[in-house]
């Protein structure tokens, strides 16, 4: 056993300590101290994660057993960690990006009161702790603890400015939608525990266990787990919470709703690839839902005017891409995209935070424009993010998106076409956002124009680091056709995720696909530039209106689920409660009352009646004694 693994429990423990210190001392500690503690613990975790990563890279993995968490009958659920290639990669993403966002937050949140500043960092640390628990967990239960923990932190952070009722509603929405998924996760967990008496990854994914499960079991478990993933990773039909979650502070959106938490579902499915590779039906479901989400969210993003909403739908769309990859069996491609997406989406969110900061809280891009002149660094880094997400080689997004598109092509060329369309939309709406925001004339008020300023270094530094990562992050997964042995990530993950075997695609075809996607993306970018370079706000009409209103999905849910539920609740309240429950409860009272009134007559106080009753009772007792006691 290696030393690094022996202290691996410090990775989640450090953020937990940070949470306790910041949470308890939020009224005593000064802002700078809170920032140092909050960021420091994550930096410590990051350092440990690097050590773990290096250890794992040299070929060591570990299963760490700490104590028995639940032990009932045959079912034994220890509190255990499992550290392997997949975990160490996620550890790096979470702690690395998390650290940058902590640093960014120290500047971004500086105007909050000390108390709330401490609360904010406490939540962030708790989130990091939960997320680390989620990826470190050696069984589904520990994973579920983290899973719930991130859901809770998400709720707390979305509703961070709890004085605004709308924000609270958004927080509730996120929490409740997550709960729907969590319920499915729990049922899958119970199913697994019932069938296998174990929820440990090592046991469940072993050949012996998988052989014990019928194909129905596997399909149900995987489908339920996937429903859990749709909740956490914002897929159809549970995706509407993510755009609303933008109510939280912008760094939170970057950390939770772009880089880490929403990828939990992808992590979980990638982790369970042994199960999923046996469930063809589930894979198809995942594939189509992923694709549908990607298209739907991308079309919505075309017409959004809130800078964060665009990014939110973009996130949903990108998550759809990842699920598409999972569904086609390209787990490595999905994880790869998680990583690159974490870089460029965190970058863009932080960039948008910088813009919002400069605009004094304004989020509507129609009131921006021409910001590139004042916010040079932000413009530059944001542009890098856009290029990366659009998929221009050699930026990171190109490689990961290309891997996904390739896997779709291997599965079915029709899938490829649809996915490519979504990717083109991505490029279009991202550059629309970029051009509307940063070029043209300023459309805001005079005070805002006066107020415009570049963000402080604490905010710019993370932006620059993330921009660098967005540029070079894709180089770990260069396809074989370009450079033999370039897919270092796939090789690294191969012990956890078997190499994806799709239809063999000729090198020339692959080059052609890359060429097509890159060419079309460039066309899209140019188109966006022409349309939005000198943007003036106009009323949207026709189909654009539908897109602006997000396909009316929220309204649909309201009509199909919320209204009938309200109606049903009203029915229960007015009819069922009044008539049946109250009737029952009051009926008992009335019956006792009536019975009492009748029984009262027996208590006439007249001795004769009492004696009569006594004799009758004697008769009954005698009769029972002598005639009914036979045998």
């Amino acid at each position: 056993m290696n030393n690094v693994f022996q202290i691996a429990y410090w990775i989640p423990l450090l953020p937990l300590i940070g949470f306790l210190i910041n949470g308890l001392g939020r009224k005593q500690l000064s802002k700078s101290l809170i920032g140092i503690i909050g960021s420091g613990v994550v930096l410590g975790a990051f350092a440990l994660s690097i050590a773990v990563f290096l250890q794992v890279k040299s070929g060591n993995t570990a299963a760490l057993h700490y104590f028995d968490f639940i032990k009932v009958g045959n079912l034994s659920i220890p509190f255990e960690f499992k550290i392997d290639q997949l975990t160490s990669l996620f550890l790096l993403i979470i702690t690395g990006v998390g650290f940058l966002i902590h640093v960014y937050s120290t500047a971004y949140m500086h105007e909050e009161k000390t108390e709330h500043f401490g609360r904010y960092f406490a939540y962030l640390n708790l989130f990091i702790f939960s997320m680390l628990l989620l990826v470190l967990g050696g069984n589904f239960v520990v994973m579920f603890i983290g899973w719930e923990g991130v859901g809770l932190c998400s709720y707390l952070l979305i509703g961070f400015w709890f004085k605004n009722q709308e924000y609270n509603k958004a927080a509730n929405k996120a929490f409740i939608m997550n709960r729907i998924g969590d319920l499915a996760f729990l049922i899958a967990l119970f199913w697994m525990a019932a069938k296998l008496d174990s929820v440990s990854f090592d046991t469940v994914f072993s050949q012996a266990s998988l052989a014990k499960l019928s194909s129905l079991d596997i399909t149900v478990i995987t489908l339920l787990l996937f429903v859990g993933a749709t909740g956490k990773s914002a897929q159809i039909p549970l995706f509407t919470w993510l755009p609303d979650a933008m109510a939280g502070p912008t760094p939170v959106s970057a950390l939770i709703h772009a880089a880490t938490m929403v990828t939990a579902g992808i992590y979980m499915i990638a982790r369970s690839n042994a199960l999923y590779s046996l469930a063809h039906l589930t894979n198809d479901v995942i594939m189509y839902i992923g694709l549908a989400t990607a298209i739907l969210a991308a079309t919505i993003a075309l017409k959004q005017n809130d800078i964060k909403k665009v990014l939110a739908y973009s996130t949903v769309s990108q998550l759809g891409f990842m699920f598409l990859a999972l569904g086609t069996g390209a787990y490595t491609a999905a994880v790869f995209h998680v990583m690159t997406h974490a870089f460029f989406k965190a970058l863009m969110f932080l960039g948008s935070g910088s813009v919002i900061h400069a605009m004094g809280g304004e989020q509507d891009i129609r009131k921006m424009g021409g910001l590139g002149k004042k916010l040079k660094w932000t413009f530059f880094t944001f542009g890098v993010g856009c290029v990366a997400i659009a998929g221009i080689p050699p930026f990171s997004g190109f490689f990961s998106k290309d891997a996904i598109l390739l896997s779709a092509f291997q599965k079915n060329p029709a899938l490829y076409v649809v996915a490519l369309f979504a990717a083109l939309l991505t490029a279009f709406y991202m550059f629309r956002l970029l051009f509307i925001t940063f070029t043209g004339k300023f459309r805001g008020s005079h005070e805002q124009e006066h107020h415009l300023h570049e963000s402080p270094p604490a905010m710019l530094l993370p932006l620059i680091i993330l921009a660098v990562l967005s540029i070079v992050g894709g180089l770990v997964g260069i396809p074989d056709v370009i450079m033999h042995g370039g897919d270092k990530l796939g090789a690294f993950l191969s012990p956890v995720i078997p190499v994806h075997e799709g239809h063999h695609v000729e090198a020339s075809t692959e080059y052609m696909l890359m060429g097509i996607s890159t060419g079309l993306v460039l066309v899209m970018i140019i188109a966006a530039m022409y349309i939005y370079k000198n943007f003036t706000p106009t009323e949207t009409k026709g189909f654009g209106k539908v897109l602006e209103n997000k396909w009316y999905v929220d309204e649909l849910y309201d009509r199909v689920i919320v209204k009938p539920l309200h109606w049903f609740a009203g029915f229960l309240n007015n009819i069922f409660e009044r008539v049946i429950i109250d009737g029952l409860v009051n009926g008992v009272g009335k019956l006792v009352n009536y019975g009492g009134r009748q029984m009262r007559l027996l208590q006439s106080g007249q001795t004769g009646t009492y004696v009569l009753l006594m004799v009758v009772s004697m008769v009954i007792i005698f009769a029972l004694q002598f005639f009914l006691r036979k045998g």
Binding site: G608, T609, L612, V615, V616, M618, V619, F622, A623, Q625, F626, F627
Partner: protein
């Protein structure tokens, strides 16, 4: 049919008849008198069973002392007919039915248990009922209860005086 059986039959009939008359008589004084007849019949049974001491005590204590006491009380409160008119006839009926049921159940139970038909209460034989043997038992084996019964009498006397005393 032996003379004893005839005597038993007569006494039993007398006892039951006079007991019934106790219950149905309108006049309380008549009830008292019929009750005395019942006691005499029961004393007759005692004599048949050769329990002479109890027969005598029964007549002296019950028919003599207690019934005279009843008569005194009736005279004292000057009550020779029921004051209030009969109400609550169904309660009366219910009482009769309940008593009948009790009789039925007891007899049926008795039949059910099937007390050995051959068991007999000897008549005329055995001297345990004589004053001599009972006295011996009473003043040896049952001396303490006998003495305690005197305390009971004392307390009953005190109680009666306290209750009967005018405020």
């Amino acid at each position: 049919m032996e003379i004893i059986e005839i005597l038993f039959g007569i006494l039993a009939f007398l006892a039951i008849f006079s007991a019934l008359m106790v219950v149905v008589s309108k006049n309380p004084v008549h009830s008292v008198l019929w009750l005395i007849v019942t006691f005499f019949a029961i004393s007759g049974h005692y004599i048949l069973l050769n329990a002479q001491f109890l027969a005598i005590v029964n007549i002296i204590v019950y028919a003599g002392a207690i019934m005279v006491l009843f008569l005194f009380v009736i005279m004292l409160i000057n009550l020779n007919r029921e004051t209030a008119p009969q109400k609550n006839r169904w309660l009366k009926m219910a009482g009769g039915v309940a008593g009948g049921c009790l009789l039925l159940v007891l007899v049926a139970a008795f039949k059910e248990v099937g007390m050995a038909e051959k068991q007999k209460a000897v008549v005329n034989v055995g001297d345990i009922g004589l004053i001599k043997s009972l006295g011996k038992e009473l003043f040896t084996k049952y001396l303490v209860p006998f003495e305690i019964s005197s305390v009971l009498f004392l307390s009953a006397m005190v109680g009666a005086v306290v209750i009967g005393k005018k405020e």
